[in-house]
């Protein structure tokens, strides 16, 4: 969530004076710009607005718990190892020793759920980070340069949108060497066109606004205009898209590993745990319920956080939902 808290959310208020030494775009409120420049403490303001929405608070709480469990798993603070087998205590119901019971190899389900959660979150984070960076750069370039660059980017976007998302991820995962990174890449390719599409449109209108024309007339280079003047005005769109994409990415990763095309075993993954539990569900229901409920909680948390962030950053949409 560091991306959401450190990026400047545009506020519908009067612009601040430019910090010394750094050129700022001129006053935009009179020129009819969609958003005014960021205020000085963007992280604090964004968080305050997020906490004002009930969905955002619940989502933030769930995601915080998930991060805590992941950290506990990374640093080995849990009582059991996720891959340690104990044949004598196989398929035990949940108790004080094994919070979520044990699976058919006597492995602790809680430790495996924690490790699987870490795995899924990591893949989703890497995938979404990749698609956000590539998609935003491509979308901004397409909208800013128009012409051939726009035609090329839009063509690639159309082609990627021509596949049902899970099918494309599946096809890519099946041709790449299987490890957690290639799974992340496969998911990233699926979600990149979404970032292209949500950024390109606003950039097309931003580039015609006076402060961008002025910057061009002042002889600023294209990369300088894009990063200095255009990017700050579309951050809120990108941040909202990031939070929403995270929940989809978690679901896509789980579907892939359920189908046997995700992270290879023995690394635990929520999707493959649920797949393995299918045959055991009548004698050891906890092997499916535990990873299932945890995954639903994570996706619900990310969805609520996404709704909260959208309400906080998008003044027009507030109260409409």
């Amino acid at each position: 969530m560091s991306a959401a808290s450190s990026a400047p959310p545009p506020m519908p208020t009067a612009p601040e004076p430019a910090p010394p030494g750094k050129p700022r775009p001129p006053d935009q409120t009179e020129s009819g710009a969609p958003q005014a420049p960021a205020r000085r403490r963007p992280a604090r303001d964004g968080l305050r607005l997020l906490l004002r929405s009930r969905a955002g608070v619940v989502g933030l709480a769930i995601v915080t718990v998930v991060v805590a469990v992941c950290l506990a798993s990374v640093f080995g603070w849990l009582a059991h190892e996720p891959n340690a087998q104990d044949p004598l205590s196989r398929l035990q119901a949940p108790d004080g020793e094994h919070w979520f019971g044990t699976d058919r190899f006597g492995r602790d389900v809680f430790a495996r759920v924690a490790a699987g959660l870490l795995n899924s979150s990591l893949i989703a984070l890497v995938a979404v980070a990749f698609s956000a960076v590539v998609g935003t750069v491509a979308g901004v370039a397409a909208g800013f340069f128009r012409g051939a660059a726009d035609a090329a980017v839009s063509g690639v976007t159309n082609v990627l949108f021509a596949f049902p998302p899970l099918l494309l991820a599946l096809a890519l995962a099946s041709v790449l060497t299987r490890n957690w990174f290639t799974v992340a890449v496969a998911i990233a390719v699926v979600y990149t066109p979404i970032f292209i599409r949500v950024t390109r449109g606003p950039v097309l209108s931003l580039r015609e606004i006076e402060f961008v024309r002025a910057a061009r007339a002042a002889g600023r280079t294209a990369p300088a205009i894009m990063f200095r003047h255009i990017l700050p005005n579309i951050t809120s769109i990108v941040i909202v898209q990031i939070t929403l994409s995270l929940s989809w990415a978690v679901l896509t990763e789980a579907s892939l590993s359920f189908l046997g095309l995700g992270t290879p075993p023995p690394a635990p993954s929520l999707g493959s745990m649920i797949y393995e539990a299918r045959t055991l569900v009548n004698i050891a229901p906890w092997t499916m319920i535990a990873p299932g409920l945890v995954m639903i909680a994570l996706v619900v948390g990310l969805n609520l956080l996404g709704d909260g962030v959208r309400d906080a950053l998008d003044p027009q949409g507030r109260g409409r939902r």
């Binding site: 063509g155 690639v156 159309n158 082609v159 990627l160 021509a162 596949f163 049902p164 998302p165 899970l166 099918l167 599946l170 096809a171 890519l172 099946s174 041709v175 790449l176 929940s247 679901l251 789980a254 579907s255 359920f258 189908l259 095309l261 999707g271 649920i274 797949y275 539990a277 299918r278 569900v281 009548n282 499916m288 299932g292 995954m295 639903i296 996706v299 619900v300 969805n303 609520l304 409409r320």
Partner: protein, 323 residues
């Protein structure tokens, strides 16, 4: 007349779709080239190491692997377009024959799913919109959030286990029955998977309905209808719902397209021999010709469904047609 046809938005949309399909073909071709090894190694396995250079060269020329890449691409594309999409050595059937069996299964599943999700999503969306920010709105929103957040494979696996253990009902344990051969068993095998898929698909339909109904209700003509003294029920169905149908249709078409490829997981859970399962089996058995052609077929269907939705949208909404 001709210029009007050439410049109409539908024609333009059609040309874009053709270009997209060409790009799809290039991508599918390139993806399969990314797999290490070629047709020769795939055919002979580790014994391909024992081939002499001359044998290998003659095999490569037989498969056309010595041709430049773009020649290989166009000869493959020509084959695909003329109905030769490859052959599955395992099932002794051509991909065209396999698809003729599997595509109807997926389409049937998609149609039943869409009917279920409309029956669930539209009333729920209207219920939510009837009183925004009330308890019934919250009820609708929670159901939609659950639909978006509960993965289909989890819901499918648990529903199937639950139906089998508490009712002894597990039609999907039997061999799949085609609709024409045994319609009763076929429908029993379709209902659970369609219901599970519909729960997820109903969520976006519910949200779209809610937004559209709220949007239409704030329009002037609704105020006029109310001022005329029309019955609220008549306004709700005759004026609000018919106008809200435009975005609902678009969303439904989009979801139908997703179902053609997105039902993979549910087809796997419920052992339905649909087109998604054909991709999975092809991947498992390393029959890449099957995978390649099937993915291409799904993408073509997806693009066509989206194109049709777009055209339908222009037909039912006169305001868009005018543009």
């Amino acid at each position: 007349m001709l210029t009007r046809v050439l410049h109409s938005s539908i024609t333009r949309r059609f040309v874009t779709a053709l270009g997209t399909l060409f790009g799809v073909a290039v991508l599918v071709f390139a993806m399969l080239r990314a797999i290490p090894g070629d047709q020769v190694t795939a055919q002979f396995g580790i014994e391909s190491g024992a081939l002499t250079a001359a044998q290998r060269a003659s095999l490569e020329s037989y498969y056309g692997l010595d041709q430049p890449l773009f020649v290989q691409f166009f000869s493959w594309l020509g084959n695909v377009l003329t109905g030769n999409q490859g052959f599955s050595a395992r099932s002794h059937m051509s991909v065209a024959e396999l698809t003729a069996l599997s595509l109807p299964v997926t389409i049937e599943l998609a149609i039943i799913t869409i009917v279920f999700s409309l029956l669930l999503g539209v009333p729920l969306g209207m219920l939510s919109a009837s009183k925004p920010n009330s308890a019934r709105d919250a009820f609708g929103q929670v159901i939609a959030l659950a639909g978006l957040s509960i993965p289909a494979f989890l819901l499918g696996s648990s529903v199937m286990a639950w139906a089998a253990s508490s009712w002894g009902e597990n039609p999907n344990g039997q061999a799949f029955a085609q609709l024409a051969e045994n319609p009763g068993l076929n429908l029993r095998q379709m209902i659970l998977p369609a219901a599970v898929l519909a729960f997820g698909i109903a969520a976006p339909i519910m949200r779209t309905t809610r937004t559209a109904v709220l949007d239409v209700r704030s329009k002037d003509f609704i105020r006029t209808a109310r001022a005329k003294g029309l019955a609220p029920r008549r306004i709700q169905f005759r004026h609000v719902l018919t106008n809200a149908l435009v975005p609902i249709t678009t969303m439904t078409g989009l979801q139908f397209g997703y179902l053609l490829g997105g039902a993979i997981v549910i087809e796997q859970v419920f052992s339905l021999p649909g087109i998604g399962r054909q991709v999975l089996v092809g991947i498992e058995q390393k029959e890449y010709a099957v995978v390649q052609s099937t993915i291409l077929i799904i993408a073509v269907c997806f693009v066509l469904v989206n194109l049709l939705t777009d055209i339908l949208y222009r037909v039912i909404d006169p305001r868009v047609r005018a543009l």
